[in-house]
Symmetry: C2
Subunit: 658 residues, 2 copies
């Protein structure tokens, strides 16, 4: 113990206990509206978007405002020929991926294949004007397509009533767009943060598995297939129709899948393989179409895309079904797919912004995605976002600005105007192979292993979401994932950590005895650290937990015959804020401690806490002298009083030193 | 700056920087299942209910187990004659309150008045055996009754189909009981904690206002009345029927209300007035009945209770409507009223346990409330809990154990068997007065003023709940209240506080510069404190906020021409736990800081955080030498390196001292 006391001596050589009294400051009072403004700003404008508008003339403010909503006005004038060269290469590269992927994903959503091309034409143009990311390549996304297809199919059969189904898809896209734009404008982007990384890994992996399983239909050339997406139904559907399997289709499908996976596998080895890997979907489509054309395999069980209408997007704003009884389905689909699309797009934009060290504004991105989907829904497009695969290719192909989206858009337009007849003989099985090879990349084993190693609960969340999607449905998986995420937040809040602190040898620090087994507790004093802000959600728990710590300590002391407990020090360093329930909790804890004839001491409470404790008159009630700046000081003060009031009147250690 | 450095000198006089390196410990590894067990225990068994079972022989364990579920076995054998005396007085006192209140609240729920008496007979007996509180007096509650009536009325009209309505009420009670018992057995009692104090104050005040407004019907002797509970409809209903007002009824009602409020007002002055106040409802009923009997006012517009069936509770387990189309309404009503009843009962039990310094077990209470309602629903009782008014009277009348409930129960039984005919002439208007005077006590102005003074957001939550109940409906108010509470938790979690720290003069402490305006920042070093555990819900925000702090600081330094920034120290003292998203956040923050050619330094990370950072290899990545036990040490190390690597090779201040 000697060292501790000597340390104290070093710290405050000329200070007596009286001086300690007033050292924990109550922060200077702030007017109500100023503090309200501060906290509103921190909640909704943490990125301070209005900073650049400060101290600017009005005309400049107008230009800045336009640039705020249309970032192209900011980077457009600085655009150089070198940028154009890079963007041209990147744009053509992503177009070669966008065309086959667009057609494939449209099939996944039970929509006409041409919609995939339409959706790669208009939305990228909108995004190029409004987006803040330089790397996002716009297009349809696999999970969004699957969800659109699956959710709308519950209300309308896409084969029996394809027109209504199409109109519902446009309506859902409109809803998704309005929803995204509204969230962005209301600056509620942080809602996306409540989908944890673990949830997304599990959910995406599950969705990828489900999408792969759906492709068995195309690969095996089946015509009848289950409508549900869970693994049991799909497997039953596949193995109950063994006699219907078409070997031609299977051979073609497995061949192309092997080719695609092989190029992907080698793409990381050498730059040249990267280009082959990027072009491989287009190569597969060309090879497959040629093969079918030459062998007339379409007559031998290999299904082909067939006739695609020439021409660019027809308008579709007359097709919304806002007043039909099916509108609720479209509404639900729109909101669910809107959130998913937004979460994927923003995550992708953030990741690449990090690589290249620039900032993207989550709320502005949401508005861009929203407007893109609103305009898209009026021009025969369905749900688009920033898919990971396409954006990664864009990034790797060396894009410099969002202009690569415009290039892709032009390439798709040319395809729509002149090249659609070429897809007549494209076999569906090749599309299935393309989807499968893209999906296998989304199942992130490494991330799951990493989760298992670092955080078991996160792993459980991840696996639950995966199992929910694969064995239940995409929606069940999503509900499980969100529920677990929110439950986790609530549990975190409801059960904050409390730890017993001890003195770290050779220092004046008091730290957790679990973390520092060498740390020594101080006789007669129990030091507890409260490890989180105190709210209504955890105040009852904390009160009970503190009583239990005191019970435990008194029992331990009694059984080992040590000095009985006299002081309970609460280290409040980690309590950055508190609400009224938290303050009542302190009042109750004080009563409990008083009744046991112990003394409550607070150490290092923060400004917010001091302010509220002061207003609630708790500081008066407890006495300023029992509030200290550090645990060390609090321990010092306790020992001082302990020895001063000792019956033998012979203070031997600490007080001598002061 | 000199003082700071000298302090350092005192603290570590013989220590060089190398020694600091390994001082932040990674806690000793724990086997997975042990840590899982630990956290499960902390989540579901924070009160450690199994402690007493430890190291006991099997027969003792059996007895302890029985005592666990039936606390009467524990306190029963120790029961003394003195206890009986006190409980007898308290029991008779609460019975005198229970009878008029029971009848009044049953009217509130649109149920036959006799049900109020039934509900004060069986449930108290069950609670006396299973409850852990010594002060709770069991009975029906005002808000629960109002909600039951209002929610079931939406499906079934109690006047047109009273039998079905009654059966639905039994079913809802059964559901509430099963729900409460299940939550208790699953140890999910902490769900109640998510209703914050502010929410409850607002909600209860609103409900009390609504109940008072409903009483205008009885007081004014109206026969037609609106079914909605919002103030606008009620006021419209009252003032559109001015010609229907009965002055006889109004005079009687206002007279008794004045009497009740007067006795209540004086009850706090002298003990004798307390007894008058307690007996006043019964006195009112007796006086009112006599008055009506003598004047035959029932023929002059004063409505009376009329015939009440003699005899104790008939069985009702055959009356549940589990398979009817109305079951969903009963289910919803049961769950909502179950939560409300539980929240009130547990809050009451906790408050009085605190006064008398004993512990109640929230989960055990839930099981007791649940079983009491399950048995109640089979014996013609509707929803019961521990109402505040009755429990407060019980406590003030000097009850010693839950046996006072048994006394009350016996008194009610005697009433049921022999005295029901006496209530024939009891005027309804007296019941309205009793309800109103009880409700006016539930509107807690002082609490609202206190909330305004200490925490504005809590005040807003409180007022929103109040307005929601009064202007919308009880359900809308409840939804608003719960939504605001959850939103508040999520906002707390999503927007943790980050503060810039400075050196408090004459100490080695680093504290918030907002709280201590005298605290000095250290040139070239930015010290940030992260004020909460880091989860997926706040990691994105924290990353952006940290970048913004760095931006702000660099801008400030540039404009004032001070030393440029070199180090960013994150004080992790308040980060008691972290999840995988939080770890990714650190990796990203490190990248951002590296890219700006700054150095990231961590100060005083806790055990949990060190363990996870270690597993994720972040410590290796950052380097052990950049992790320090205290901010002071971290600052010391930074200054040391800053001066050592200075171009002029002339370290002048800190390094000289070491």
């Amino acid at each position: 113990m000697g060292t501790v006391l000597e340390d104290h001596q070093y710290v405050y050589p000329n200070m007596n206990m009286e001086q300690c009294k007033s050292r924990v400051a109550v922060p200077p009072p702030q007017p109500f509206f100023k503090s309200l403004q501060g906290s509103l700003k921190e909640t909704f404008f943490p990125d301070d978007p209005l900073r650049q508008f400060k101290n600017q003339p009005r005309s400049r403010k107008f230009i800045l405002g336009l640039q705020y909503f249309f970032p192209i006005l900011e980077w457009g004038p600085k655009y150089t020929l070198n940028f154009l060269k890079s963007d041209l290469v990147a744009g053509i590269t992503i177009a070669s991926l966008a065309i086959p992927q667009g057609i494939s994903y449209a099939k996944l959503a039970n929509l006409p294949p041409i919609l995939g091309l339409y959706s790669s034409f208009v939305p990228p143009l909108v995004y190029a004007m409004m987006g803040t990311s330089k790397d996002v390549a716009v297009g349809t996304i696999a999970v969004g397509s699957l969800l659109t297809g699956a959710m709308l199919s519950t209300a309308v059969d896409p084969n029996q009533n394809p027109k209504l189904f199409l109109h519902l898809a446009f309506t859902a896209t409109l809803v998704a767009g309005i929803f995204e734009a509204t969230l962005g404008l209301l600056r509620l982007g942080f809602i996306v943060d409540f989908l944890s990384h673990a949830t997304i890994v599990g959910f995406m992996g599950g969705a990828a598995t489900v999408v792969c399983l759906q492709q068995l239909k195309g690969i095996l050339g089946l015509t009848h297939f289950t409508k549900s997406t869970d693994i049991i139904d799909v497997m039953h559907s596949v193995f109950s129709q063994e006699h219907q399997w078409r070997w031609e289709s299977a051979v073609l499908g497995c061949g192309f899948l092997f080719f695609l996976l092989l190029t992907k596998y080698f793409s990381k080895r050498k730059p040249i393989f990267f280009w082959i890997s990027v072009m491989s979907p287009l190569i597969s489509i060309i090879l497959g179409s040629l093969l079918v054309y030459l062998t007339h395999a379409e007559n031998h069980g290999v299904q082909v895309i067939g006739f695609l209408k020439k021409g660019i997007n027809p308008p579709s704003f007359g097709d919304f079904v806002l007043y039909s009884p099916y509108f609720p389905v479209a509404l639900k689909t729109g909101i669910v797919t809107g959130i998913i699309a937004m979460a994927e797009g923003i995550a992708v934009a953030r990741s690449f912004a990090m690589f290249k060290n620039y900032n993207i504004d989550g709320n502005k991105e949401m508005v861009a995605f929203g407007v893109m989907n609103i305009i898209g829904s009026c021009t025969s497009c369905y749900l688009t976002s920033g898919p990971f695969s396409r954006s990664a290719v864009n990034y790797n192909a060396g894009c410099k600005t969002a202009f690569s989206n415009v290039i892709m858009s032009i390439a798709v337009m040319i395809t729509l105007l002149f090249l659609t007849p070429l897809f007549y003989y494209t076999p569906l099985v090749v599309l299935s192979s393309i989807i499968m090879s893209a999906m296998l990349g989304l199942i992130d084993y490494d991330a799951a292993v990493h989760l298992w190693k670092t955080d078991k609960f996160d792993f459980v969340v991840c696996i639950s979401a995966y199992i929910g999607v694969v064995f239940g449905s995409v929606e069940i998986g999503l509900v499980i994932a969100v529920a677990l995420s929110v439950l986790r937040v609530l549990l975190f809040v409801a059960r904050p950590r409390t730890t017993v602190l001890g003195n770290v040898p050779n220092s004046i620090c008091y730290r957790s005895v679990d973390q520092y087994p060498a740390a020594q507790t101080v006789p007669g004093i129990l030091i507890l650290e409260i490890g989180a802000p105190i709210y209504f959600a955890n105040s009852t728990y904390l009160r009970e937990r503190i009583s239990r710590w005191i019970d435990d300590e008194e029992e331990r002391l009694k059984s080992s015959g040590e000095t009985s407990l006299r002081y309970v020090i609460l280290d409040m360093r980690a309590v950055s804020c508190i609400d009224t329930s938290g303050i009542s909790m302190f009042e109750e804890v004080k009563k409990i401690i008083d009744r046991r004839k112990l003394q409550l001491v607070l150490a290092s409470p923060g400004g917010e806490v001091m302010k509220k404790l002061d207003r609630a008159k708790f500081i008066e009630n407890l006495g300023q002298e029992w509030i200290h700046l550090t645990v060390g000081e609090a321990v010092g003060a306790c020992r001082y009083t302990l020895h001063t009031y000792k019956a033998d009147g012979q203070p031997e250690t600490w007080s001598n030193n002061v």
